[in-house]
Symmetry: none
Subunit: 188 residues, 4 copies
């Protein structure tokens, strides 16, 4: 039965991903999840004691899927420019399809839960980007920029973009401009 339990759990997570992506964190109720999964109240509660718990499981899953393994690529010796392009492409993709991303839900969740999770996620993102830039500078592919400053610039302009792209219609070229700007900072 272990197996069936895992299956249901997976089904719940998949379904609620869609809910959270569409509605953010607070707006999703256990009833919503019941409805979308066609499960009963009690059944759902036996898997997760609340939406926060479901969301945390999703965060776990996401952070393990590890969108782009920058450190791994560095170790493999992939050129910094190539890694940068992949990472930026991924960013662009998320901004272009904001409805598929948990960004807003994560933000709302973070607001309500003084959890270390966000601090952790942030720190890991900072570390990744810092590693990439250091690496690019060392290989001579990147300009000798202020690493901290550049990382901040990348992360926060990205966050700003991806959150507001959910709110206001954004010209297609806007994220491209930001991404270009970042490239110009780094690539000679």
């Amino acid at each position: 039965m272990r197996f069936k339990r895992e299956l249901t759990r997976g089904r719940i997570l998949d379904a609620s991903y869609k809910l959270f992506a569409a509605k953010g964190f607070k707006q999703v109720t256990m009833k919503d999840v019941c409805d979308i999964t066609h499960m009963s109240r009690g059944g759902l509660y036996s898997h997760f004691p609340g939406t926060a718990s479901i969301f945390e499981a999703l965060l776990q899953q996401i952070s393990q899927e590890n969108f782009l393994d920058i450190e791994g690529e560095i170790d493999k010796g992939t050129p910094a420019t190539e890694i940068l392009n992949s990472a930026l492409a991924q960013m662009q993709k998320e901004i272009d399809h904001p409805e598929d991303s948990l960004s807003i839900a994560i933000f709302e969740y973070a607001q309500m839960n003084e959890s270390e999770v966000m601090i952790d996620l942030n720190r890991r993102a900072v570390d990744k980007w810092a590693a990439l830039i250091h690496y690019g500078i060392k290989t001579g592919e990147f300009k000798n920029v202020d690493v901290d400053e550049t990382v901040s610039l990348i992360l926060y302009s990205y966050q700003g973009l991806r959150m507001w792209s959910r709110i206001i219609p954004m010209k297609k070229k806007t994220p491209e401009q930001i991404i270009n700007h970042i490239k110009k900072q780094l690539i000679p």
Copy 2:
């Protein structure tokens, strides 16, 4: 009695500003507003039919208060550098005191209401910054940057900063770095 009505309205708006700043938009209930204003349910409803309505009145008020009248300063011939510094200082102030700002509430409100308000606010911000940068370029104070790109950079990195500063503890120098970066883009 027109006058008294306006007073009460003002009292409601002042009180709810605090609520929205502290709790965001969705989390504020009409009951909260009743409690904080010591008004009766019916009384409050006779002024505003719901929290959205209160919030819209606040947005109105804010956009009229017009934090920095960039166009006005340009007309007065204030040096572009000086206007820039004021504008950036204001940004920094808001980021340093995120608990006083409606940023998150605005964001939440925008998410739930496909309202033109956000688009409008955004367009006006874009226009202001574009005007400033054009002006600075014309007066020779600013470098000949890509205006659109620079405006996007400023606005979205600012949004990213001010929203995430509510969520994760941010090093004091982080906003300074972003602001410095912006200055470096513009000022030779």
Copy 3:
């Protein structure tokens, strides 16, 4: 409106007295009270935040109604024997009509709430009976019994009686026997 509020409150208390007397404390839900008072959920909750709160109000009321003012009678100089007879008659009445009494509900409530209320009620009962017996001894109406022991005997056999009379059919003479026993202890 103060007046109406008090009226409703009284209505709720009257109705829930019946419920608690019939079903004990735990078994009564807010829904039961809604049903019996024909009030809505929210309306009821605006008066009392839960069954415990209603019950506490009832206890308050009861302890103020002050079934028999033993101290008062002593001050008035009523003969001890007469006071004793009244007090015992009252006990008998409660045991004969157990369905009208909150005894079981009080017991259940006490079990769930480490409240001082029970300790208080108990202490007051002890004090009353002790005062009466001391008084009777002083006036020479009562035998020179061990006051503490007699009070314990009275109170606990009474409690035992009134609780078990709810559970098992009790011969009419059983409480009479106990009461007679008590009288024999005290009256020469």
Copy 4:
């Protein structure tokens, strides 16, 4: 397999005894029993269809264990005083350790189930004590008291004591006083 079934049944009864003693009857759920016995829902249900059924089995068991076999002792010719002392000692023990006893659970159960069980238990207790007192009177060890009255006094003051000792902190000497009182009634 008959054997294993009995074992499991015993395990369930032992575990639920603790639950009932700690929480009373109503407060114990089938879930609690599952948890404490580490059994599955279905497994438990295949033994007992509900908490009432478990409790009834416990009552059965208890009444068979026959805490003190008064009739047996009488038949053996044990002196009435000795039997009385044992019986009272047992009472005192239960009052001193109310947390080990089902008293409250029994009471709650009786309230909810118009069952003959309580009437039976009560009748048997009455019979035992009556037999003992008659025996003591016959052997000349006890005074020639009113048997019915004395039995009522013993049983109900005992019930009162043991139930209220769960609710209010009771002075150690209180049960001793009651027990002494009983002894004084019987022993010249």
